[in-house]
């Protein structure tokens, strides 16, 4: 099934009109503002430096205009209440049972995550699905790429326990031995092994929760619209308590719906896939979305890291639509708890998005997806451009202050002087226009909430306004810090620097002063030197730069304080950054809270992880059932494992490296031998090392 089958869908013509309008709204103001910018500069953009400043300004202005007009179009869509192309209009919610062929797999790829949290979320989703009465159409697959031996065993134990407690056989667990292509490889592996049994798959992140009715509705929509390949929800950010995360949650819940509606307005069936909280039609995904390796070495070659955008482009290339269900509730995720965690994640995304540039000219892709690749790249490149803009502007200001103007250049032979003029009032006008573009969407978001009578969901109108003002101040302080890091990421990636792909921190742990100093100290020093030089040479320009420089100087305390849950909770007590989920907690989140409070140990011996798999007979048996004995084993390997077993028995688990633990865990014979030997140890130090209690 290639492009032709769905090429006369009615939305295609509307998409062309909407995108033309969108493009016009961006291009025209950008031209006007850039002309204005050139006029502000002393030489009217006539020097090379000023020309560069204008070009960079134009790119940045176009970039922020995309956000602005997306928000405005979203406002228009939500105020109208009706969008005839909204994907949810394909079928109203009903209780009609799903057909037997609409089998849906819920995939939960994990990699060294907090096991208790992951399985609690699965349980919440399971229970919510059960209440819909359509549970039997769904199966859960926990797909693990965990390299930590303790996590590996904990996941198996948690899986067995969940299955036992729920009595539902269609909860599965699989751990890959070789983590090829990370998350996308994990999902592709599942597709190859089990995909033929399912019509749809819903991909979760480790921190995702979706309500049963939402999942059922998504399957119903996919059943109704055969042209849809991926249906993405707009997840609400929830559950975090640190200050920065609460600000992000607030921004997501207040501004997010408007932006999502705006994205829908101009993207329609060419929407983005964000990699999780989305339903995918398995067959075309298997046929068209396998990801190749990019030629060359990482960071720009090798495995495609940010796979979601590429998969969306490929499934669209195959003729299927990718839609954003912007008005579908019941989809949740969590944001990184601290600025440093957010930046670590951004570094991964940055590298992934930069790889997309290499796919820009791939044959057969739709222009909208090429634009989305570019848009993803600009998410980070814009930071570098901003940094470049500030640097060039500083250079211009320094040159103007240090160099004697040449009023009558020899080459021009003019009677009139070449008089460099600076009009601060024009600069103020331009700055105000830029500020309007940046902040007006926030005002419109408040207006939208007010018009829809939902201010109580944000703590009431006065608190909502105070929260928006506080969020503006907070994001103004944070923006330069993020800009500096993103610039560095782009720069390092272009220079060939690589990144790790570890698991995310999903707990509310505050950043230490030491960590903050290590990460932000350099930026603060740069800002101090930058500010001092500008202040000495051109004090007038210093004040223009000061908001950015001050943010960078205070980055260390900002990073630490914003990562503290107690400050986040204090803000909540003051009524700041309240979100609808905090005012009235959805049933699924309430249930998650209950499950967190009920967490209990899996082993009566009090051992877990690797030690549990070796010592605890129950965990040992669960683990053995999951691993396969090697078909053949070289004599040398068998001998090494025997020695490893002897050393483990003698010195205890702490003497083994993670690699050695994994080797033992993967070898049923060695593991069984160690298990038996430990239980035959006489009472004493050796037995205690393995967690065996003393015999009375």
């Amino acid at each position: 099934m290639r492009r032709s089958e769905f090429k006369h869908e009615p939305w295609l013509k509307m998409a062309a009109w909407r995108r033309s309008l969108f493009l016009l709204l961006i291009v025209v103001p950008t031209f006007i503002a850039s002309g204005y910018m050139a006029a502000i500069l002393p030489h009217k953009g006539a020097t090379v430096l000023e020309f560069l400043i204008v070009v960079v300004f134009a790119a940045l202005f176009a970039w922020i205009s995309i956000g602005f007009w997306t928000a405005m179009l979203g406002f228009y869509t939500l105020v109208r209440k009706v969008d005839r192309f909204a994907i949810t209009r394909a079928r109203e919610h009903d209780d009609t049972p799903l057909g037997p062929k609409a089998r849906t797999a819920i995939l939960i790829p994990v990699c060294n995550e907090d096991v208790g949290e992951v399985f609690a979320r699965i349980r919440v989703t399971y229970e919510s699905l059960k209440e819909t009465g359509q549970l039997e159409r769904f199966a859960f697959f926990v797909l693990s790429d965990s390299g930590n031996p303790d996590r590996w065993v904990e996941e198996e134990t948690a899986w067995a326990r969940l299955r036992e407690e729920l009595g539902y056989p269609h909860i599965y667990y699989r751990r890959r031995r070789v983590n090829l292509k990370r998350k996308s490889g994990n999902v592709a592996d599942w597709c190859r092994r089990f995909g033929r049994d399912y019509r749809y798959m819903v991909v979760f992140d480790a921190d995702s929760i979706m309500s049963g009715p939402t999942l059922v509705r998504m399957v119903q929509l996919m059943e109704r619209r055969r042209d849809v390949g991926i249906l993405q929800t707009a997840p609400a950010c929830v559950n975090r308590e640190t200050l920065i995360a609460r600000v992000q949650q607030f921004a997501n819940r207040l501004y997010g719906p408007m932006f999502a509606a705006g994205l829908h307005f101009w993207q329609l069936g060419d929407a983005q896939f964000w990699g999780h909280n989305a339903i995918i039609r398995v067959k075309p995904f298997m046929e068209h979305c396998a990801l190749p390796r990019l030629p060359g070495k990482p960071p720009l070659g090798g495995d495609i890291l940010s796979h979601d955008f590429v998969e969306a482009a490929l499934i669209r290339r195959a003729g299927y639509g990718v839609w954003l269900a912007f008005d579908l509730d019941g989809s949740y995720e969590e944001v990184p708890p601290t600025l440093l965690d957010e930046l670590k994640r951004d570094r991964r995304w940055c590298q992934g998005n930069m790889q997309h540039l290499r796919l820009l000219f791939t044959n057969g892709l739709f222009p909208a997806h090429r634009a989305l690749f570019l848009n993803g790249f600009m998410s980070y490149a814009s930071a570098l451009l901003w940094f470049l803009f500030l640097s060039l502007s500083t250079l211009e200001a320094l040159l103007e202050a240090l160099m004697v103007p040449e009023y009558f250049p020899a080459a021009e032979r003019s009677l009139f002087p070449n008089w460099p003029v600076w009009y601060p009032q024009w600069a103020v006008t331009l700055m105000v226009s830029t500020a309007i573009i940046l902040f007006l969407p926030k005002v419109f978001s408040v207006a939208l909430v007010y018009l829809k009578g939902k201010t109580h969901e944000f703590g009431g109108l006065p608190k909502l306004i105070c929260s928006v003002l506080a969020e503006v101040v907070f994001s103004t302080f944070m923006a330069p810090v993020r800009m500096l890091f993103h610039s560095k990421f782009v720069f390092v990636t272009l220079l060939g620097g690589q990144i790790g792909w570890g698991s995310q921190n999903r707990s509310d742990e505050a950043t230490t002063w030491g960590d903050a100093l290590r990460f932000h100290g350099g930026g603060s020093l740069l800002a101090l030197i930058w500010g001092a030089v500008v202040y000495v040479v051109n004090p007038g320009f210093f004040w223009w730069l000061s908001p950015i420089l001050i943010s960078l100087v205070v980055a260390v305390p900002l990073s630490v304080w914003s990562s503290r849950p107690d400050i986040g909770r204090a803000a909540r007590r003051l009524g700041l950054f309240i979100t609808p989920e905090e005012v009235e907690r959805p049933a699924q989140l309430r249930r998650l809270d209950e499950l967190r409070a009920q967490a209990s140990a899996d082993s009566l011996l009090g051992v877990s992880g690797f030690t549990g798999a070796v010592v605890d007979p129950r965990i040992h048996r669960i683990h053995l059932a999951q691993i396969r004995a090697p078909r053949r084993q070289l004599e040398s390997i068998a001998q090494r494992r025997l020695e490893l077993k002897e050393r483990a028995l003698r010195d205890g688990p702490d003497a083994l490296s993670d690699q050695e633990k994994k080797e033992l865990l993967a070898d049923p014979a060695a593991l069984q031998a160690l298990h038996r030997a430990i239980w035959q140890l006489p009472d004493g130090e050796q037995a205690r090392r393995w967690g065996l209690p003393a015999l009375a």
């Binding site: 092994r193 053995l624 059932a625």
Partner: protein, 150 residues
Amino acid sequence: MRALAEAASAPSDIDLTDPKWAAAQARLRLYLQALRLPASEVEALTAAALRQAHAARPAEPLAAAMEALHALLAAREPVVANAVPSMPEMRRGAMVPEPLNRSPLHFFSRELLWPMVVGTMRLLTGTVRRQRLLVIMIAIGGGVLFQTLH
């Protein structure tokens, strides 16, 4: 199970005041409790394992008793619920990357220029309305060019 029931009676001939046999009994109980077996089964299996071990008159009662217990448990698998393979049966399917032509030259020639040529040809050979549109576009383009040159 019948053998197990017969063996469940207290092993009277074993001297449980002997620290070695007492340790073996305690270790067996611990093992079975960790398996979360019911108390009655814990006692029955402990007694059976002790009896079997004692019959061999071992020098190390603990090791012998544990070996005996493993043998007993092997006969009554599965001991633990859900100690079973965690995945359903595989149904292999293919998922092979399609070749991607990423050549900018190909893109500009085939996906940019060629559609423009085709579009223009359609306009030239199309309906009157389309031809008018083409004339208007040429006029606008010419105007912009004229303005730029002067």
